[in-house]
Symmetry: C2
Amino acid sequence: MIFNCKPKIVLTEKQKALIEKIGISFENEGSQPVPARILGLLYVSDKPELTFDEITEALQISKSATSNGINLLLQMQRIEYTTFSGDRRRYFRLKVSNWRDEFRTKIDTMAGFNVLLREVLEVRTKETPAYNASIKELVDFLDYVFQNLPLLLQKWDQEKKDRP
Amino acid sequence: MIFNCKPKIVLTEKQKALIEKIGISFENEGSQPVPARILGLLYVSDKPELTFDEITEALQISKSATSNGINLLLQMQRIEYTTFSGDRRRYFRLKVSNWRDEFRTKIDTMAGFNVLLREVLEVRTKETPAYNASIKELVDFLDYVFQNLPLLLQKWDQEKKDRP
DNA sequence: TTTTTAGTTCATAAAATTATGAACTTAGTG
DNA sequence: CACTAAGTTCATAATTTTATGAACTAAAAA
């Protein structure tokens, strides 16, 4: 008798529930369902590294859904993978260390909006000074925040170093 | 001869282009097309306050699209309106002053994710201490940020007061 | 060389989102 | 009261997004 020895990913109810919650949370931030759940799975899975098949099976989705989801997440730099010699499979894991870059990216996105607001100020009629001033105030505030957030990162690093 | 004296909203090419850009920017942040463009219109319009019909006409959309868009934006607190006695129409305008609240809301959203990450830490197997530690670090950093952002708001208010 | 494994691609199906127009409501106006 | 203007609702249409399964590819194993 031959055993099919693919060790299946077994998820507790708690884990499944949390995957859904995390999935919904990422969906709310604009992610699509499958990638969102893949991230959730990688967060709660006992094994931090999962193969293509394990993901497909654990989430009960099609191979193509897994393929698309994984490639999207790789491209977004939310996950990465390793391989082991003598094993053609890729082992996917969260790029947790990447939150620092994500944080910067988010700031950049907001900064991009600020650029648009500056354009608004240029295009706006001068007949509405009070209104224009209120937009200017927003622009200034966002500038202030974008200047200071990197400092916050630095300070965090410093405090980490002081007591690790 | 009778003139139809509804003063139409005339948009320059520059304004139209900017409305599109702002629209796309909001869409990228998850807004739907019509509300995104209504916001864009209110940003660039020479009149900071526009009626239902003016919005409908300026954006060339259906009344229902305007209705839905406006109600969504009202609910999201992105716009508000005034009325004038003897005029049943509502005059919609951006709630620019509201960016402060929006900022807080965004922080709260991120904080919500942090709550989920704490749940992850509870559910995770103890067999992967290094991985768990890396998630813990993320949780701690986010906590740090959420503690410090309100301070940033305060400091900005202070500096404003010092030299207005 | 044939087979298996790991994964991609593509046409299509299913589902969800958005927008529309017509009918309807509601409150003032003449 | 009849009329109009302001806006909503609803069924439907159009579009977009998301997921699927089957066919395909490429590399390694047998």
